[in-house]
């Protein structure tokens, strides 16, 4: 850390998770000497941050370029050699994957697992969050503390018991089993997030609605859901990515016919060197949806992740 840390740009004023520091420059009065020193230091900082950004970008780029190279090329040289021989690039790996029913099937399995799981979590947690925030019943606070406690329960605790339960119920290996498991383990966080958000809705709005004789479901639909939109959006995106990216639950609960992409790709990892064509292109396809969601809704996603911190 250099001595003049934080001189050049004061922290962004807004609570925006990715604040734009524009306009921050010059907000502080500084001596000419300090300014010169800061400019020098700033050059070093710029360079350092560029290097760090490269450290974050280049590995991903490596995966992408590898996915565009023939297996034999990947086996004999590094992906960066395409800089000298761009003609090597090919879409063959992707064509091969899209022709492969097993992979295409696993892509749809991912969708079939992720969409229902996300919807169920959001619906169930909204109802529960509303009840915890705005309904009176005995033991409410204790019950909610229980939910808070469940937040950190490791998923491992449920693997064996639920596997046995599923075996008995005949849904071991099925998509439904995977979906329901995600719902179960997604709920504490979802309820916690929504309850806190709903609780902050101005009391007057609810009172007024209840005064008008609105039924609870109507209030929930007309008042809570619209006002809770941003929190619900955060939760939806967070859960969507969480389920989409899951490996462990699928590993335990999805059989070969119902496995999502993550599990299908994991099975190839044992022969990493030989399957690099399938693995790199498959991994990249599996990343595309999360990346699109991330860049399109990054604000909501960042918010969801930040809400995921112990507070």
């Amino acid at each position: 850390m250099s001595d003049d840390a934080a001189t050049t740009a004061p922290p962004g004023a807004g609570p925006d998770p990715l604040p734009d520091p524009d306009g921050a420059e010059g907000a502080l009065r500084r001596s000419a000497a300090a300014r010169a020193a800061a400019r020098l230091g700033s050059g070093a900082v710029q360079l350092l941050l560029v290097l760090i950004a490269l450290f974050w970008l280049v590995p991903t780029l490596g995966l992408f370029v590898s996915s565009l190279r023939a297996p034999a090329d990947n086996a004999s040289s590094g992906w960066w050699t395409v800089l000298a021989r761009p003609a090597e690039l090919t879409l063959e790996n992707y064509a091969g994957l899209l022709d492969n029913p097993a992979f295409v099937g696993s892509f749809w399995n991912t969708v079939l697992i992720t969409v229902p799981a996300t919807l169920l979590i959001v619906v169930i947690a909204s109802l529960a969050g509303y009840a915890f925030a705005w309904m009176e019943f005995p033991g409410r606070d204790w019950l909610f503390l229980g939910v808070v406690g469940l937040l950190v329960v490791p998923i491992q605790v449920a693997l064996v018991p639920i596997a046995q339960l599923y075996g008995g119920a005949g849904i071991y290996g099925s998509i439904a089993g995977v979906v329901l498991f995600h719902v179960g383990f997604g709920l504490p966080f979802a309820i916690f997030l929504l309850r806190n958000f709903f609780a902050a809705i101005p009391r007057d709005l609810l009172e007024a609605a209840r005064m008008d004789g609105g039924r609870e479901l109507t209030i929930f639909r007309r008042v809570i859901l619209p006002l809770g939109g941003p929190a619900i959006a955060s939760l939806t995106i967070f859960q969507f990515l969480w389920v989409w990216n899951d490996l462990l639950v699928a590993l335990v609960f999805a059989d070969a016919a119902n496995q999502p992409m993550t599990k299908a790709l994991q099975a190839e990892m044992r022969q990493f060197g030989a399957n690099i064509d399938v693995i790199s292109s498959g991994a990249f396809i599996s990343m595309v949806v999360p990346l699109v969601v991330f860049f399109a809704f990054q604000r909501y996603f960042v918010q969801g992740v930040m809400a995921g911190a112990v507070k």
Partner: protein, 433 residues
């Protein structure tokens, strides 16, 4: 441990499997005979996909024609145990399943999930399989399974071009291989071996071949049953023999570090694709990977029998064992058909198949290579042994990061102390048995 059925890779294996089959003789099932199982529906589960699946389905169609039954094939994916477990629990197992390991067979037999062979099936086993093979599918004297499709694990693949450049011939004995072949290749600037050390099962296969040849079949069986401890001098001897190759970093592509980090079939690519090494040891199914790496099996990719360490060259075999999992009508008849020389001769003609049936004639095979392999199995007779690591508890013999896999990987990393390695193996075995 055969691990070549890749889940996302059906097509690739399939293409290579087809290369093995010189000609595709149509299935010559017998004439339909009345159809005494008309309307019966049966389910068969195995891990084969692609061409392997097509060929098997063609063999099954012979049964359908003869009996009028309908047989449905279900692919299990890579992990047959994980596929069958829940099905058994749910009470809906397939009628016939092909188990990749005798260990699994024992496990299911203990859970009463298997139906013993009876009637025609028992007779077919008796008639077609010699002692060792019929015992393989038995638990406590009760016959449950038939080794349907064998994998030959006692061959070493080489690149003739590299051998020619160094002026060496395929060796007959281990000493020749280490003393002459490998050292001459090394002098010629060719790295003798590609190792598949990251895939632990390939290392257990090395051990099994050396041990079977050096200590003999009887000790092999006793060690498999853990009747003698792994600290037995015969184990130490086998490890010392292996160290003659494993201890020479220069003999392995990428040196010791590279050898441990290379998985199967990348090691095959090192030989036939990048041409970084001259030989790679693994089973007959290397053919698929070699073809994928651009070699022509039989020409630019050839194999010689695993050389004799002791008196006789070893013949280690792996394979899939067919078992009955239901008492439904037609199940035993289907097993009887599959065990028959007729069905297996058809299969052999389709290619990519090796039989353990003593009645299947060598000329049934579509290509010379498989014919020769089948001949070595027949010649070895009662001295053939099934892959040890697949017979011992899977915790010990077939688990990543555990037991034989992990200890042998450590040994490949540093083969300096065979006795300590034997002790490690014994410790791991104690834990698992």
């Amino acid at each position: 441990m055969t691990e070549h059925a890749w889940r996302l890779r059906g097509a690739a294996v399939a293409a290579a499997g087809a290369l093995l089959a010189a000609g595709c003789a149509p299935g010559g099932g017998g004439a339909p005979n009345g159809g005494d199982l008309q309307g019966v529906q049966l389910k068969v589960a195995a891990k084969w996909t692609g061409v392997e699946q097509d060929n098997f389905v063609e063999v099954l169609s012979g049964f359908e024609e003869q009996t009028g039954a309908t047989v449905e094939y279900e692919p299990t994916g890579e992990d047959t145990g994980a596929y069958l477990g829940p099905k058994i629990e749910a009470g809906e197992p397939p009628d016939v399943a092909l188990l990749p390991q005798p260990g699994l067979l024992e496990e299911y037999a203990a859970q009463d999930a298997l139906v013993p062979l009876s009637g025609d099936a028992a007779a077919a086993l008796e008639e077609n399989y010699t002692g060792y093979w019929s015992d393989l599918g038995s638990v406590d004297g009760e016959a449950y399974g038939i080794l349907l499709k064998a994998a030959h694990k006692s061959i070493i693949w080489y690149r003739p071009e590299a051998f020619d450049a160094a002026g060496v011939q395929p060796p007959k004995t281990w000493d020749d291989m280490v003393g002459t072949t490998a050292s001459t290749l090394s002098d010629a600037g060719e790295t003798p071996f590609a190792m598949c050390g990251a895939s632990g099962w390939t290392l257990t296969d090395w051990f099994e071949n050396v041990y079977l040849s050096q200590a003999g079949p009887e000790k092999y069986d006793r060690l498999t049953a853990h009747e003698i401890p792994w600290t037995d001098p015969s184990v130490v001897d086998a490890l010392e023999t292996m160290a003659e190759v494993w201890g020479e970093g220069d003999y392995m592509a990428g040196g010791t570090d590279g050898a441990v980090q290379t998985d199967f079939p990348t090691c095959v690519t090192q030989v036939y694709g990048q041409q970084e090494a001259a030989m790679v040891y693994e089973a007959d199914f290397v053919a698929a990977s070699a073809a994928e790496a651009g070699a022509t099996v039989g020409e630019t990719a050839q194999a010689f029998p695993f050389p004799a360490v002791g008196d006789a060259a070893p013949v280690v075999v792996g394979g899939d064992i067919a078992v009955a999992m239901s008492e439904n009508e037609g199940t035993q008849e289907l097993l009887a058909y599959l065990a028959s020389a007729e069905a297996q001769t058809t299969w052999a003609g389709l290619g990519g198949y090796l039989s353990a049936n003593s009645q299947v004639q060598p000329d049934a095979y579509a290509d010379d290579f498989t014919r020769q392999l089948s001949q070595t199995v027949l010649d070895a007779g009662e001295d053939v042994r099934y892959d040890m690591s697949d017979q011992v508890p899977s915790q010990f013999g077939a688990t990543e990061g555990r037991g034989m896999w992990a200890v042998l990987q450590d040994f490949l990393r540093d083969p300096g102390d065979p006795e300590a390695t034997a002790q490690d193996l014994e410790d791991a075995a104690q834990e698992a048995y």
